[in-house]
Symmetry: C2
DNA sequence: GCAAAAGTGTTCACTTTACACCCATGT
DNA sequence: ACATGGGTGTAAAGTGAACACTTTTGC
């Protein structure tokens, strides 16, 4: 190595906003800090980037270590670089957001840092560092992006009902949606494959289950199709 | 400071994709490198982030030092963190894109690094580092974002004709646009203020000049209006 | 007078919205 | 039998797309 430490360097971290959907309620996973600074405060899972791992790898590692989740949808969000965002020293943080399906992954975040808990995304406690700002940015991104990319499915189980999907969109778009129009539009896209299964153990007529057809989406995208809701 | 250099740290840089519009041709400013690595190759303006400046400040400083432009539209794009992206050592780069109006700012980039030149955005030479990837991402962002945010005006002079605006959109959307429909739509938004001036020194009927009314846009946005083209 | 771009409306197809009732199931 | 959500079609309004000619100006 050459030229290193000639000048002082910022430290580099990743922070992850992990979203889950619980019965039509959008949740975020937070971790209660054990160490200074902000000991005892809630914070996003995250940590230092190692010198030989990519940013994506660091984010996945932190999600695995601190939140106990693997193989989830993950996307870089924004890099936060205010000079005073960490009281110890200059720390620049690359923020990610991740989407997990709470039906398959446990609601208890099995982890070493077991002080993890899910909070409603718009009712979080006071957060450490600038994590409130990161969370706000992640919510904005999620709520914007579900409209033009089919990422909402990452929050649902593999097989889901049209009502579950509709509720998800109602949460993200922050407005009620007409049931018939929603079904017409989403089925008309041809991205949902009907399964031969139906909802189980419900105290009313059981709904048909659908899958998102990712291969079909890729095909259509190549032909110029754009997802839009 | 505490805990510093306990572990090796990545270096942190910013890189800027500066776009300009020249007669309906989208251009990017590149700098010919003087130093190793990649000496002689073309690269994006950029450099190391100082420990006491924010990322935005670093990006603006580099644009000023290397490209000779100030007070331009600037937005963070993405952070590139591949382990091998710099052959010297681990360097993470926060990429920005900026939009400048070439009519007011000089086409010659007056600068210390005077080996700067404008290239057509889709006919660039081979670039240093992963700058080709950064440029691709910036183009994708620009071409996507002009549709739903009125950022295109940053590429035009303060007063412009509707045809100039249409050409800009034709470049970004990569398809011809019907003149009458375009004018109907853009004027119908109420974001353009007619000036009492007309185009000068053209060998045909002179077009009326318009301004983008940023205040009006802010007002409308608060009332739920969304820009869309 | 001709070349070159400015400016201007209408029609048709399609998309979006609004809206209400019966059905299947479990308790 | 009743409570709960599942599932379905139509009409009216609004939006997007296609399209051609006259006007102004400089040379």
């Amino acid at each position: 190595m050459q030229n290193i430490y000639k000048h002082p360097r910022a430290a580099l971290t990743v922070d992850c906003v992990l979203f889950g959907l619980d019965e039509g309620d959008l949740k975020v996973l937070l971790i209660q800090r054990k160490l200074k600074p902000f000991a005892g405060k809630w914070a996003l899972p995250g940590g230092f980037v190692r010198v030989n791992e990519t940013l994506d790898e660091a984010a996945r590692r932190e999600l695995s270590e601190e939140a106990g989740v693997r193989d989830v949808f993950l996307e870089q969000l924004y890099t936060f670089g205010d000079v005073e965002r960490d009281p110890r020293e200059r720390v620049v943080s690359v923020a990610y957001y991740a989407l997990v399906n709470l039906a398959d992954h446990p609601l208890k975040a099995a982890t070493d840092a077991s002080d993890a808990a899910w909070f409603s995304a718009d009712e979080v406690p006071s957060l450490a560092f600038d994590h409130a700002e990161i969370l706000t940015a992640a919510l904005r991104r999620l709520k914007g992006k579900v409209r033009y990319e089919p990422i909402g499915f990452e929050l649902l189980p593999e097989k889901f009902t049209l009502s579950q999907l509709q509720h998800l969109y109602e949460v993200c778009l922050e407005e009620p949606i007409d049931k018939r129009n929603f079904r017409k539009k989403i089925l008309g896209m041809g991205l949902l494959a009907e399964t031969d299964e139906i909802q189980q153990d419900v105290a009313h007529r059981a709904a048909r289950l659908y899958r998102f057809d990712a291969k079909r989406y890729e095909q259509l995208k190549k032909r110029g199709f754009s997802f839009w809701l």
